[in-house]
């Protein structure tokens, strides 16, 4: 059975609310299972495969919980298959002293060891607070859902966080040492990205419309005003020291984007421009409108009461 067909049957079970007989004790790895009722996780949970949170269920994860993902790559695409797919709801509220940790179960962990915590077509208000994501393809993905993500650490993933059409607030997070820190694929919202510390990634923020739409729903020409006004607010962040670019517009991002009042780690406009990939590099792309910039470091950015064992660039 292919992974896709397996997921289809798991999703079907989740949709219909049919209980699964594959539940395991916390000591035994959980995999290829549908949670059909409200579930609480604590302690250490090991996942080997796909865990689907069914439409009627909410997964609550208590402070101090560690969730380990075993690496398995059945289709040899270079990405570990273990994941949590939330169709119902998820409440993961750690604390500064007791964060919730999502990471690889491998002895030599590496980015892409596991897929992601995916919130997909959830009808509930999801909360992800004081969580840490490591070693994933994407630590967290949110699509067609509502989520509050705050005081989280995304580090050593291929992508820290990716989202598409979503009602999302991302604030007070530390996003560092990923290939891509933040990836946004829809430019629709409302989305607020504020008071985050985004540093030492290869690319800090990557704004790239999906290249997989068969039908292009975007308007055919540039309108002359910023595309994101009123539904995408990226402000009051420290976006700095990302090795390739602090901000990159991907192919098909043809419209200007307003991304003002952020601190880019440097003062002069010409130097800041060197850290951006937009129309100045490729005439096909839109412009990143960054002025006015913040005059200095946003002191309130990043995780509030950061755990003592992690060093943030301040």
């Amino acid at each position: 059975m292919t992974i896709r067909s397996y997921l289809i049957w798991l999703s079907l079970l989740a949709w219909l609310g049919i209980p699964s007989s594959l539940m395991a004790s916390p000591q035994t790895p959980i995999g290829n299972v549908v949670l059909t009722e409200d579930t609480v996780w604590s302690g250490t949970i090991t996942i080997d495969g796909v865990v689907v949170v069914g439409r009627k269920a909410t997964l609550t994860i208590t402070p101090g919980t560690t969730i380990l993902f075993k690496r398995r790559d059945v289709n040899h695409d270079g990405v570990g298959d273990s994941e949590i797919r939330v169709l119902g709801g998820v409440i993961a509220q750690g604390s500064a002293k007791q964060p919730i940790v999502f990471k690889s179960a491998e002895t030599k962990p590496a980015p892409k060891d596991w897929s992601y915590l995916l919130i997909f077509t959830s009808g509930k208000k999801n909360r992800i607070e004081y969580c840490q994501f490591h070693d994933a393809f994407s630590g967290l993905q949110v699509h067609f859902s509502t989520a509050l993500v705050q005081d989280c650490l995304f580090s050593h993933n291929l992508e820290g966080i990716r989202f598409g059409r979503a009602k999302l607030t991302l604030r007070h997070c530390l996003i560092n040492e990923n290939h891509i820190g933040v990836r946004f694929t829809r430019m629709e919202g409302p989305v607020e990205i504020q008071y985050n510390e985004i540093n030492n990634n290869q690319v800090g923020i990557f704004l790239v419309p999906s290249g997989q739409n068969i039908v292009d729903f975007f308007e055919p020409g540039r309108t002359g005003k910023p595309w994101n006004e009123g539904h995408l607010d990226i402000s009051a962040n420290n976006i700095r020291m990302n090795s390739d670019y602090n901000l990159k517009l991907g192919a098909k991002q043809l419209w200007d984007l307003k991304i003002t009042n952020n601190w880019w780690g440097i003062v002069t406009r010409a130097d800041i421009r060197q850290t951006l990939f937009d129309q100045h590099r490729d005439p096909d792309l839109g412009r990143a409108i960054i002025e006015p910039t913040a005059p200095q470091t946003i002191v309130d950015a990043g995780i509030r009461q950061l755990p003592a064992n992690h060093h943030a660039t301040k």
């Binding site: 289709n75 990405v79 290249g211």
Partner: protein, 197 residues
């Protein structure tokens, strides 16, 4: 009867949901190459350009023989398929079992038509160099039609390399490889110098 109908509707909905989900969460594309230095650097070039400009995950799969490469180009199995390759018109004429025409441009038109009709593979615009084999030939990226359907943006991205690598530039790439530089580094340096990434 009603139960069966409802089940079918649910399965249909979930199929749609999972396909949509694939598009959102990201799918891996596979670039296929033979194990030559030239093949490696050009496949790295495509992989880097696609990944850097679209964020799509790319994996390069190497093959010992052209037969293995073309088998993968026809495969639908995730674990063995390739979606994109680099090919030149001389090799393509051999695959198509056709004789060379009076010019490389004529060969390009001939193999482009053959590949599209017989192999469901589309030739994009040529890179520009003509000196990759013992007779003059044209090299270009090739994409499966089914991939093109799901990733309509790819030609726009890959065509940024159209005409960007002339014979002199290609010889410089080969020289760097002969000096021991890694294909990925050589490709990345070239793309950065061209301001493509």
């Amino acid at each position: 009867m009603i139960t069966r109908l409802l089940s079918l509707i649910f399965v249909g909905l979930m199929l749609i949901q999972n396909n949509v989900c694939d598009a959102c969460v990201g799918r891996t594309l596979y670039v296929g190459t033979l194990q030559s230095n030239e093949g490696k650097v050009m496949s790295e070039m495509l992989a880097l350009l696609i990944n850097e400009r679209t964020g799509t995950s790319i994996q390069i799969r190497s093959f010992e023989t052209s037969e293995q490469l073309y088998t993968a180009l026809k495969s639908t199995k995730e674990e063995e398929r390739v979606d994109i390759i680099v090919e030149d018109t001389a090799q393509a004429l051999s695959i198509a079992q056709q004789k060379a025409g009076t010019s490389p441009d004529q060969d390009f038109i001939a193999v482009k038509a053959f590949y599209e009709k017989e192999l469901n593979v589309v030739w994009l615009n040529p890179f520009g160099y003509t000196a990759n084999s013992t007779q003059p030939s044209i090299s270009a990226p090739l994409i499966r039609k089914d991939v093109l359907t799901n990733f309509p943006l790819l030609p726009r991205v890959l065509n940024k390399l159209a005409g960007a690598i002339n014979d002199k530039a290609f010889q410089a790439l080969k020289k760097a490889l002969d000096a021991g530089d890694k294909p990925k580094n050589v490709a990345k340096d070239f793309l950065k110098k061209q301001k493509l990434i």
